[in-house]
Amino acid sequence: MPDWLTHIGLAHFVVVSVLLFVIGLVGVLTSRSVVRVLLLVELMFSAVNLNFLAFNNYLHPTGILLGHVFSIFILTVSAAEVSVGLAIIIALYRARATADMEDYNLLKW
């Protein structure tokens, strides 16, 4: 069996997290439903978190937990963000009666 299949290194985690991040990014840019956009932003958040933890684990295996601390704060900010985001979705849905991003053009110039 090839070596890269059985020995999981830093690069494996980086590839997976970048893959998740790019999938989330494409979904955010192409999707037309606000709820899906908010969900995929959370996907991007957890891809970034995975990156922090993988780098921390492989570069400081002796127990310096800087990446963990960063991840905890990212988790906090994303929880705050999703609560406000959902409130905005509800307010927008009341005002426009649709969940389509194309119809939210109040600030369009």
Binding site: S33, L39, F73, A79
Partner: protein, 218 residues
């Protein structure tokens, strides 16, 4: 060997779930497949010796966030009409090209910067002393000593977000004290009407309210 099997299983689940979440037409399916993605990301955290964060991920993302999103989906409808429109094929090809470019760029930057750093040849599952003791104790000490100020600021942020969410999402009342949306006196009795008729009436009413508020703005 064992950790590589676990890694590949989680990798397939995560990427497949993420693709389903982007491509599936039904919003419920998208939210449920994101549960799979978040669970496998929690598995990756465990492979990286981050036991506390793995559990936090399960609690916050899998339980909290996805349930909230399911509420939002039920609020706005499962299969929105606009998602059914066929995508422009030239546009999706260009999206794919941009995505590949961003992927290659991010990967090259990160692997060039850090990929060659010598990494311990042992598996990460047994490499760290954390593997015996867990990371929670160390993490708690760090959060309450070196990072006490950011920790307090994070609590203020959460409070502000909570109050902000309540203020944004609550119903608006106009000066005479009646509900601007006016769902208190709908043209149809929602409890007795058949479901489709009630939904149609509610939707029509909302559109009317939106149109009238748009008129007032202009």
């Amino acid at each position: 060997m064992l950790d590589s099997i676990i890694f590949w299983a989680f990798a397939i689940l995560a990427v497949g779930g993420a693709l389903t979440a982007v491509c599936s037409r039904s919003m419920i399916n998208a939210a449920l497949s994101l549960i799979v993605v978040f669970m496998s990301v929690a598995g990756f955290y465990l492979l990286n010796n981050a036991d506390f964060l793995a559990i936090a991920q399960v609690i916050i993302y899998v339980v909290g966030l996805t349930i909230m999103m399911l509420f939002a989906v039920m609020f706005t409808g499962d299969k929105p009409q606009f998602d059914r429109k066929k995508a422009n094929s030239a546009l999706s090809v260009s999206y794919g090209i941009v995505a590949l470019y961003v992927f290659a760029l991010l990967l090259r930057t990160m692997l060039k910067g850090f990929g060659n750093t010598p990494v311990l040849p042992v598996s990460p599952l047994v490499a760290a002393p954390l593997a015996q003791d867990g990371s929670t104790r160390l993490l708690g000490t760090l959060l309450f000593t070196d990072y006490a100020l950011p920790f307090e600021i994070a609590s203020i942020l959460l409070l502000a977000a909570m109050i902000g969410a309540i203020v944004i999402a609550k119903k608006r009342f106009n000066d005479s004290g009646e509900n601007e949306i006016g769902e208190d006196h709908l043209p149809i009795d929602l409890s007795s009407a058949p479901k489709e008729a009630a939904i149609a009436a509610l939707r029509e009413h909302r559109l009317k309210v939106a149109a009238s508020s748009k008129e007032r703005e202009s």
